[in-house]
């Protein structure tokens, strides 16, 4: 076994620390939520509805709203991101490609609260008019903005995957007389499929974890959403709304149920991501 250089040791140590931190977070949440777990309240919290006045503190409506919002946002963002990635890799005039990617990177740096703030004034009144009733603060409003928010993350993944396709394949396709669109559909897309899957999972994770967009645009009613046009409260918004409650209240304890559910959902997503990733790293 070869000796590790100090730099490698330092990196190794950092990795171990980061890993421990993540494990410690789960442990902390489990300890804090122990009273809930121990008394078996956790399951009723996850399955029940939110009626603090009636002593019911379930987070099922938030769980459904979170999943619905994140999935619709991803559904909206995938075509948007795929199109942008295709343009940046193959379809746009070569001179426009790097400015396009620069724009995408800039977008990924804009704080989410800016998107939310702009949408309150620009998108919400439009949605109110378009839906014809209600306030315009709906899950769909939030999903539209969330789609724009997660698109840069997905685009960067997609572009990376498309660019990683070996040049020799591309030359062979050219020699066969493929047009750029043929090359994209029959060569690049199938070859980059694992990276695209990874990008989608990353986007879903980001959509699930985002707080500001849901909090500012989805309306925050703690009711089971009937459709994308009704208002809803996500798990993360719920944490933000209830965090100021008394430490010993059930409202506050429900935050830990939210935290554990979010943690497990994100962990499941990362597990899926890891299954997708090794394939992209192949030679």
């Amino acid at each position: 076994m070869s000796r590790l250089s100090p730099a490698e040791r330092a990196l190794q140590l950092t990795t171990v620390c980061c890993g421990l931190l993540v494990a410690a977070m789960l442990a902390l949440m489990l300890v804090l939520a122990w009273p809930l777990l121990h008394s078996g309240q956790l399951l009723s919290l996850i399955g029940g509805d939110w009626q603090p006045a009636a002593g019911r503190y379930g987070i099922a409506p938030m769980l459904v709203a979170s999943l619905l919002l994140a999935m619709v946002a991803v559904l909206l963002a995938v075509p948007l991101s795929l199109g942008t990635a295709f343009a940046a890799v193959a379809l746009a005039p070569p001179l426009l490609r790097s400015p396009l990617m620069l724009g995408v990177r800039l977008m990924s740096g804009i704080p989410t609260v800016i998107y939310g703030f702009a949408a309150v004034f620009a998108l919400v009144p439009l949605m109110r008019q378009w839906i014809g009733s209600g306030s315009g603060f709906t899950l769909l409003t939030a999903a539209l903005v969330l789609a724009v928010l997660i698109a840069p993350t997905m685009i960067v993944f997609f572009v990376g995957g498309l660019r990683a396709v070996p040049q020799s394949y591309s030359l062979a396709a050219d020699a066969l007389g493929c047009r750029p669109v043929d090359k994209l559909l029959y060569l690049l897309l199938p070859q980059a499929a694992p990276a695209i899957a990874a990008g989608i999972v990353m986007g879903l994770g980001r959509a699930l974890g985002d707080t500001m967009i849901g909090l500012m645009l989805a309306g925050n009613s703690a009711i089971m959403p009937e459709s994308m046009l009704s208002t809803g409260r996500t798990l993360t918004s719920h944490i933000a709304l209830v965090i100021a409650a008394d430490f010993s209240s059930m409202e506050f304890k429900s935050i830990f149920a939210c935290g554990i559910v979010l943690y497990l959902l994100t962990a499941a997503l990362v597990a899926i991501l890891r299954r997708a990733l090794p394939a992209t790293a192949r030679p």
Partner: protein, 275 residues
Amino acid sequence: MKSSFLAAALGCMLLFSPIGANAGALDGFAGAKGTLKIAGGTAHIPVMKEAAQAIMSTNPDVQVTIAGGGTGVGIKQAGEGLVDIGNAGRKPTDEEVSRYGLHMVQWAIDGVAVVVHPGNTVKALSGEQLRDIYAGKIVNWKELGGSDKGINLYDRDETSGTREVFLKNGLKDGAVAKTANVVVSNGAMKTAVAGDPYGIGYVSVGHIDATVGPVALDGIVPSIATVKDGSYKVARGLYSLTKGPANGLAKLFLDYLLTPDGQKIATDKGFISVL
């Protein structure tokens, strides 16, 4: 000529300078040093900011930081010792006072007004109508003499002090329909109602401006005058809390709020003086 210009310039400086105006009330801060951390109720923030500015411009050695978060945060952070002064829009409960050893100072009174879009023709409601609207029994403006449009309810988060006063004194502990939109501050409420022609919400009287229309409740228009004379009933005290008796900068700050100059800031921001 030259001297009269100088005199005019000096006059202007005195007129516009908070230093000149507040020198007497701020004498206590002479020689004081350090940082004062304030957090909590969002209704308190405009007053806190103005007072902090006056203090910091006479004494640059004092730093005052002001954060929002709501009444719940104010009580909790003051109690946990995370901030020097925690602001609350309600009296802390006996349990909170005894658990944290809180001391409180009431320095203003605030009314909570029902607001609608300025273009809304419904300008007056009875207490019963208001309860029915928030309970989800009245769902269309037509039933109140307005246009044939659904009513969009806006509510605050459960830990808001403004909400607590509204629920207790406005809705008489009535229910709020689960479909209500929830916003997180007085400012966000104003933005939401100002942008929604068919919305109804509530803000602290100090936050009312031309962007929203106040609604008379049982014939009484919410205003500073009606809150002050007690005829408008949806009102509350504004409190600042310290863990244990206030001392140091926190005491200086709270004393300043209770001077005529401090009270003037509160009244300028739409609240009612306690003096």
